[in-house]
C-alpha cells in the first residue's frame, strides 16, 4: 500500500487556480465595511525640516476625514527600541511623522484619510508645506573618504564582518605571474515587486486589529505593531496569504503599515492605505556600492592573492550592512587574502536586503576579475575555475555539508556547448552580430532559521500543518504540502497547510532562501512528533491490533498507521481521532538549525552560469540569446517551482547586468526615475532561451530534509557571466552595472 512520494515531483502550484482566476486576494483587496482610504504625502526636499504644514485647504475637501502630520499625530511608543523589527540594522529606526526633521527625499510627512481614494489623493495634493533646507550628501563616490566600519548589532549575526587578513596580499599581488586590479560600481536598485505596498487594517471594535499586509514576515509585523502601539500581541493579527512579490522589500515593516494602523487606532475605523509606484521608491533599496579588487595568480593558474574592499551606502540613521567582500575566499583557495567592508552614511533611506544582498554585487566583481585574470594567464575561464576548485571551504578549512559545484560546471558547460568557444575576443560572428560566450560561478549561503510548526490530524483524518510563513511566489505552500504529505504517505489533497498568518506558529521571515530549510525541517520534526503521539493513542485503543507494537514497528501511509511487517494490520487516522473522543490530535514543535553539528561544516549553495550574448556589430545593442544555469542546492523538493525560482533569478541577472538602475540626481538628492517606464526591468522581448539544470547533491548533514534553498543562487552568477560574454563578444570590459549598450560605441 506504499503511496508514491510527492517530494521531487513537478507538482503544479496548489494555489494556481486562485491566481489564474483572479480569486487570490492581496493586501489591498479585502472587502471591509465602512472602510476609509489613506494617501501619503512625501517630502519634496532631501534634508532639513518642515517649518509649516497647512492642511486647511485639504481638510475643506468634502469627504476628507482626517489629516495626520507630525504636529497632530497620536503619542506613540517612547523608546526607539520599540520600533526595532527583527530585521532592523544597528542604529535608530526611522519613525514616520515623528517630528519636523527630514532625513531623505520622499520621506512620508503626512497622511490624508478620506472616504475614498480619489478624494484622499486629491486632498493630499492640496497641503501647503514649507521647509527649511539644509545641505545634503547622496553621492557615494564623493564621500568615500568618510567610509568607516559598520556598527555591530543583532543583524551582524547573519552578516558577520569580514575575516582577518592572511599572509601578505600586497606582496603577492606584486610578485605573482599575473594580476588584475579593478574597480566596480553598481547603481542603486529598487525591488519593485509588482504589487504595490498596501495595508488593510480592520478595526475589530474590541480593541483588536486584523491587518492584511504586504510583508515577508507576518510575525515581524505583528511584533512591530504591538510594540509601537502598545497593544497586546494577541490583539494584533497580521495576515498575508498572498504576496505579490517581495524580493526583500517586505522583510521589514514599511511605513504604510505604521501609518495605516495609527489611523485606524486613532479614528477607530478600518483603514486601507496603498502606496503608489513612486512611493515604492521611498523606502529601502539595494545600495550603490564601489568595490576594489586585486587578484593575483601564479603561472600555473593558481590564485595567490585575493583582496576585495567594498564601500556601500547606508542612511544617516541605520547601519545596513551586507556580506560583500569575502565571497571569493569561500570559492577559491589563496594563501594571501585581505577583505574589507565599509559604509558611507548618506542622506538616503536605509537600504533593505534585495534578492541575494551582497553576494549579487560581490560575485559580479569577483567573477569578472577571475575572467580577466584567466585571459591574462591565457587559460580558459572554466579551466581556471577548475584549477582553483575547493573541496573544502578555503576560508575556514571546514568540509562542506555537500558541494556539487564541479558537476554544475560540467553539466552546464556541456549543455551550453562551451567547447565551441573561440577564446579570442570579438572572433565569433553571426550576421550583423558579434557573438560572445561568458561564464561565471555562483555561491550563496544555506541559511536556516528557527521555526515552529503545528501538525494536526483533524476529525476527517486529514493532516493540517500550520506555520506563520508567507509564500511570496516561491512555491512555499506547495512544497510544505509535499513535505508533510510524504511524512504521512498521504496524497496532497489530504493535507491542508495554513500559512501567511501571525496567529500560526512562529516563522521568522521569508528571505535569504531559507524558508524551505526552516519551515520544511520544522514540518518533518512536528510530523515525527505527531506520529509518535498517534502511535501511542493507537496502542491504547480498545482491542488495538497495535497494542504491542513498538514505535519502530509501525509506519504511516495512506491515512493509516500499520505494522511494518504486516501492513494488513492497520488503523485509520480517522479512527484514532475518533478514539480520542473526536478531538483532533496535534503537536507543536520547533525546528532549528543543528548548530553544534554544523559548526564543523561549511554550508553553501553553488551554481555555474553560461551565457551567450549577441552584440550588434555597429549599433552595439546587446541581447542575451541563451543562458544555462546549473545549480547545486541540495534536495529539490519540487523541480517545477524550483526551476521557476532559478529562471526568475536568471531574469533578474539579465536585468541587473543590462537594464535596471535607480537614477540618483546627486544635485537634487533624489531618485529621478521612480516609475516602471524609466526603471527598466526586462520585458518579454528581452528574454530568450533559459535552461536550468539541478545537479544531484545529496546532503545528509545540513538538515532533516537535505534542502538548501533556491531563491537566490540562480541570480548571483548571471551578471558576471553576461559581462564576461560581452567582453568575449567585443573585447571591451565593463566594470559598472548596468551595461548600457551605448557604452560599447
Amino acid at each position: 500500500m506504499q503511496s508514491t512520494p510527492t517530494v521531487g515531483k513537478p507538482i503544479s502550484r496548489l494555489e494556481g487556480i486562485l491566481k489564474v482566476t483572479g480569486a487570490a486576494r492581496y493586501a489591498a483587496e479585502y472587502e471591509v465595511p465602512d472602510l476609509l482610504h489613506g494617501y501619503v504625502v512625501n517630502s519634496t526636499i532631501t534634508k532639513g525640516s518642515i517649518t509649516r504644514i497647512d492642511t486647511t485647504q485639504a481638510m475643506a475637501v468634502e469627504g476628507v476625514v482626517h489629516i495626520f502630520t507630525h504636529e497632530n499625530r497620536p503619542r506613540l511608543a517612547w523608546f526607539d527600541l520599540q520600533y526595532a523589527d527583527m530585521d532592523a540594522p544597528p542604529g535608530t529606526v526611522f519613525k514616520p511623522l515623528h517630528d519636523a526633521t527630514i532625513h531623505y527625499n520622499g520621506q512620508p510627512i503626512a497622511l490624508v484619510i478620506a472616504q475614498d481614494v480619489e478624494t484622499a489623493r486629491y486632498a493630499a495634493s492640496l497641503l501647503t508645506i514649507e521647509y527649511e533646507e539644509t545641505s545634503f550628501d547622496t553621492c557615494l563616490n564623493d564621500n568615500l573618504h568618510k567610509a568607516r566600519k559598520p556598527k555591530k548589532g543583532l543583524a551582524s549575526v547573519m552578516k558577520s564582518p569580514p575575516p582577518k587578513p592572511t599572509g601578505d596580499v600586497k606582496k603577492a599581488f606584486q610578485q605573482s605571474a599575473a594580476q588584475v586590479a579593478a574597480e566596480f560600481r553598481h547603481s542603486t536598485e529598487h525591488h519593485n515587486p509588482m504589487e504595490l505596498f498596501a495595508t488593510t487594517t480592520v478595526y475589530e471594535g474590541d480593541g483588536q486589529l486584523t491587518i492584511y499586509d504586504k510583508t515577508q514576515s507576518t510575525i515581524n509585523n505583528q511584533l512591530y505593531v504591538a510594540n509601537v502601539f502598545g497593544l497586546k500581541y494577541k490583539y494584533v493579527r497580521v495576515l498575508a496569504p498572498f504576496v505579490g512579490g517581495g524580493f526583500g522589500s517586505g522583510l521589514r515593516p514599511q511605513y504604510q503599515l505604521f501609518l495605516c494602523v495609527m489611523a485606524a487606532l486613532q479614528l477607530k475605523r478600518s483603514v486601507r492605505l496603498v502606496l503608489d509606484r513612486k512611493q515604492m521608491f521611498s523606502f529601502g533599496h539595494r545600495p550603490q556600492n564601489v568595490q576594489r579588487l586585486h587578484f593575483s595568480a601564479d603561472d600555473k593558474g593558481q590564485l595567490t592573492g585575493l583582496s576585495h574592499t567594498a564601500f556601500s551606502a547606508t542612511s544617516q540613521f541605520e547601519d545596513y550592512a551586507e556580506t560583500v567582500s569575502e565571497w571569493s575566499h569561500k570559492l577559491y583557495p589563496a594563501p594571501h587574502t585581505s577583505f574589507d567592508y565599509q559604509l558611507v552614511s548618506l542622506d538616503l533611506h536605509t537600504p533593505v536586503d534585495m534578492r541575494a544582498p551582497g553576494g549579487n554585487s560581490a560575485l559580479h566583481a569577483i567573477e569578472c576579475t577571475m575572467d580577466e585574470l584567466a585571459y591574462k594567464l591565457g587559460i580558459d575561464p572554466l579551466e581556471f575555475r577548475l584549477r582553483n576548485y575547493a573541496d573544502e571551504d578555503p576560508s575556514t578549512g571546514k568540509p562542506f555539508t555537500s558541494k556539487a559545484l564541479r558537476a554544475c560546471y560540467q553539466l552546464a558547460a556541456e549543455q551550453f556547448g562551451w567547447h565551441q568557444r573561440n577564446p579570442q575576443p570579438a572572433s565569433m560572428k553571426r550576421g550583423n552580430k558579434l557573438v560572445g560566450y561568458g561564464m561565471a560561478t555562483g555561491i550563496w549561503d544555506a541559511f536556516q532559521f528557527p521555526a515552529r510548526v503545528e501538525a494536526m490530524i483533524d476529525q476527517e483524518g486529514k493532516l493540517v500543518i500550520s506555520n506563520a510563513t508567507t509564500d511570496i511566489g516561491t512555491g512555499t505552500l506547495t512544497i510544505m504540502t509535499q513535505i508533510a504529505a510524504d511524512e504521512f504517505g498521504l496524497p496532497i489533497e489530504q493535507v491542508n497547510v495554513h500559512y501567511g498568518d501571525s496567529k500560526k506558529p512562529f516563522s521568522m521571515f521569508q528571505g535569504g532562501s531559507a524558508t524551505t530549510a526552516s519551515t520544511g525541517s520544522a514540518i518533518v520534526i512536528a510530523a515525527q512528533a505527531l506520529k509518535k503521539k498517534l502511535w501511542k493513542i493507537a496502542k491504547g485503543m480498545d482491542g488495538s491490533p497495535l497494542a504491542k507494537a513498538g514505535e519502530a514497528d509501525v509506519a504511516f501511509d495512506s491515512g493509516q498507521i500499520y505494522l511494518r511487517h504486516d501492513p494488513s494490520v492497520a488503523i485509520s487516522l480517522a479512527a484514532i481521532v475518533a478514539a480520542n473522543k473526536g478531538r483532533p490530535i496535534k503537536t507543536t514543535n520547533m525546528g532549528k538549525p543543528h548548530l553544534l553539528k554544523l559548526r564543523k561544516y561549511a554550508k553553501a549553495t553553488h551554481s555555474a552560469a553560461f551565457v551567450e550574448v549577441e552584440v550588434d556589430a555597429e549599433l552595439k545593442t546587446i541581447t542575451v540569446t541563451r543562458a544555462v544555469t546549473a545549480v547545486a542546492a541540495g534536495k529539490i523538493i519540487n523541480p517545477k517551482t524550483a526551476r521557476s525560482q532559478i529562471e526568475g533569478s536568471m531574469v533578474w541577472g539579465i536585468s541587473k547586468a543590462l537594464h535596471e538602475a535607480t537614477i540618483l540626481d546627486e544635485k537634487l538628492g533624489k531618485f529621478m526615475n521612480p516609475n516602471l517606464a524609466e526603471y527598466h526591468i526586462p520585458v518579454h522581448a528581452d528574454i530568450h532561451e533559459l535552461d536550468v539544470i539541478f545537479a544531484d547533491e545529496p546532503d545528509e548533514i545540513i538538515n532533516e530534509l537535505g534542502v538548501k534553498g533556491v531563491g537566490e543562487i540562480g541570480l548571483v552568477a548571471m551578471p558576471a557571466a553576461i559581462a564576461n560574454a560581452v567582453y568575449h563578444a567585443t573585447g571591451k570590459r565593463f566594470y559598472n552595472l548596468p551595461i548600457h549598450f551605448n557604452e560599447l560605441l
Binding site: 537594464h659 520585458v683 528581452d686
Partner: protein, 339 residues
Amino acid sequence: MNNFDYLQPQSVSEAVDQAGTNDSNRFIAGGTNLLDLWKYDLLHPAALIDINQLPALNSITETAEGGLRLGALCTNAATAYHPLVEERYPLLSKAILAGASAQIRNMATNGGNLLQRTRCYYFYDPAVPCNKRNPGSGCPAIGGYNRMHAILGASDQCIAVFPSDMCVALAALNAVVLVTGQQGDRSIPFADFHRLPGDQPALDNTLLPGELITAIDLPPNRFATNYSYLKLRDRHSYAFALVSVATALDLDGDTIREARIALGGVAHKPWRNELAEQFLQGKAAIEANFAAAADILLQGAQGYQHNGFKIPLAKKAIIRNSLMALDPASQLPGAQPSA
C-alpha cells in the same frame, strides 16, 4: 488628481465650443497621456471634453489625390493595421508598432499621439524646476542626468525630446495636420506642427488653445517599397527611443530618386534636414552616401554630459536603417536592428 467636469459633445462644433480658448479645458481621446499627467499632478484640467463619441473623427479614408486621411480618433493600432496604411504607408505602420505596448496602442489615438508630452524626468517631477512646466524656473536636466535628452535644436532653456515614434514617420511622410477651432479650419504641414523649445519651451507645438485635431493627411508617395523604422532603446520593447530613425527611399534601380530621413529621440520635434535628403537625390544607394547624408543631418549636434553617445549612435543608426530600407524584410519586430 483634481476633480474636473466631464463633457460629452455630440458634434465637432459642440466640442470646439465647449473647449473655448481656455487651456484648462482639455479634449480627452485615449487618455493614455492626459490621465498619466493628471495623476502625476502635472495637469489640472477644469473640464475634460470626451471626443470619443464623434464618429466624424474616427475613420480612415482615401483622399482625392490618392493619399489617405487618418481620423484623429482612430487608434494607433487600428491605423497601423489598416490595410491601406499597410499597403501605402508601411513606414507609418512600423513606426506606430514600435511605440508603447499593444494595449496602449489599442487606446492611444492619432490626435493624442501628436500631443503627447516629453518624458523628461525633470518635467515629470512637479517638485523640481522645469522651464517647460513652470516657465522661468530653470532646467535641471542641463546640468543633471540627461541621457535621454536632445542633441539637436535644444535651447539653453530646455533640452527635452519629443517621445513619439508615430510622428517620426509622419514627419518623413510630409503629413499634414488638419485642425478646427473657433477661428475656423487650418491645415498645418507636419514640419510646422511641432516646434523647437527656443525661449518658450512650454509650447510643444503650434496648435492654439481650444483647437481640435480632426485628421492627418498623408500625401501620395512612392515609399511603399523601400522603408524602414529603427528604434534604439534600453530594452527591446516598451521603452522610449534613445534614437530612432524613419527612412523612406524611392529608388530607380540603384539610384535614389527621393529620400526621406527623420530622427526621433534627439530633439524637441522629429528631426529632418532637407539638405541631407537633397544630397542623396540622384546618388547611388550605398553606405558611403548614407553616411555623408547622416553627417549633414547631424550638423550642429551637441551632446551634454550623458547623451553625447547619441551623436555617433544616430549616425550609425541612419546608415543601418538606410540599408534596412533597401531590404525591408530584414526589419524585426520592435524595430530592432536587423539580424
